[in-house]
Symmetry: C2
Subunit: 201 residues, 2 copies
DNA sequence: TTCATTTTAGTACAAATGTACAAAAATGAT
DNA sequence: ATCATTTTTGTACATTTGTACTAAAATGAA
């Protein structure tokens, strides 16, 4: 691992533990045992590091094979997709803790975020349609409500990290599992009898 | 309005507009046209102001007559309660933007938050039970799922402000109405036919 | 009016941060 | 081994912020 990569790893660790309002380039340098000028050689400032880490995260997320939609898609796809995504989010949790502040300082990130949302929204809508056709979820739910559900899923997906720190304070897998379950429970009332049976297995 | 009150009002405005990571005591003083030492006379530091504003907010919230539960409680109670609460949250929106950072710096706030959650949770559980007995919502939903629903409502309630800034960027009443609707839609699949009819009026 | 108290202002200082720059050290191709 | 390039370090400076302290101004009771 070269210096640049080490900086990114150390920065991620410190940001996750203490927050971007506390950690400066000098802290990262001290933690690594190098001079802060050395970090400056690779990154203009702390925001530059944050941006790079965010880009890494988004790239990793975009490459995930989640919500893949084959005609006989089961509920495991939904479940596994949720867990995988939450794991990635947990790994980069500082981003979500400081999401608004980060986007205020770096508006480009907002655009990247909006693109991702748009893609995932369509994926989810298709998956739900698929489930409807398979009789796994109810057919009597208006389109508006599905749209709202997707918004809610996204909102929870983006801020469960913050909610967790505010309340239960779960760590690692426990946190991921707890909030994966919360998201799954959001679907419960949409299941048909068939859906419930499928969900119980 | 005396100086102390003016400080709180000005601070709230600046925090809401620009964030606690940007606004210092000196900014508030400049905005008010007074010396920063004058602010220091009333508040030890910026955190002291934030804490005072938070306490104000919680006090106002605790006095709200929301989720009141009479035997024939209709859906309007739920709806109006949601809107009222979201309005208050919007007024103090900077708190929710910086919630984690604030609680990290002032752990007492976490305790106050936990108390509030516990009270509201019971209120909501009772209201749901009431609705179940009235046949407004379904009786075939496990207790776990109700618990999850409350958690989700709370999570969205605490972070819709952030989500809004990240995406739609709605202002004032438009924001409140949009997210009130989002929360209401969360209930949709729980309604019985009677509930749906009631909701449509 | 006098005088104690409250309120406001001015100033000063240490610490931290972002930033810039020059020099030293390390690296690697020839 | 030489030398250009890359990497790393040390230092310095302006700015901001929290904080403390003193003095001035305003207030109000006697």
């Amino acid at each position: 691992m070269n210096t640049k990569e080490k900086i990114l790893v150390t920065a991620l660790e410190l940001f996750n533990e203490q927050g971007i309002d506390v950690i400066t380039i000098r802290h990262i340098a001290k933690e690594m045992g190098i001079s802060h000028s050395n970090i400056q050689y690779y990154f203009k400032n702390a925001d530059d590091i944050i941006y790079t880490i965010y880009a890494q995260h988004i790239e990793a997320m975009n490459e995930l094979p989640v919500f893949v939609n084959d005609p006989a898609a089961g509920l495991s796809i939904l479940r596994e997709s949720i867990t995988t995504i939450l794991q990635h989010i947990y790994h980069y949790r500082f981003i979500y803790i400081h999401f608004v502040v980060i986007t205020r300082r770096m508006p480009e990130i907002k655009k990247i975020y909006a693109q991702r949302f748009s893609i995932r929204r369509k994926q989810l809508l298709r998956l739900f349609e698929n489930y409807r056709e398979q009789g796994i979820v109810r057919k009597d739910v208006p389109g508006d409500v599905w749209e709202s559900l997707i918004r809610s899923i996204y909102l929870i997906g983006d801020f469960w990290i913050s909610a967790n720190e505010l309340t239960t304070g779960l760590k690692g897998k426990k946190a991921v599992n707890y909030y994966a379950r919360l998201l799954e429970d959001l679907f419960y009332p949409y299941f048909t009898e068939k859906g419930k049976q499928l969900a119980a297995t």
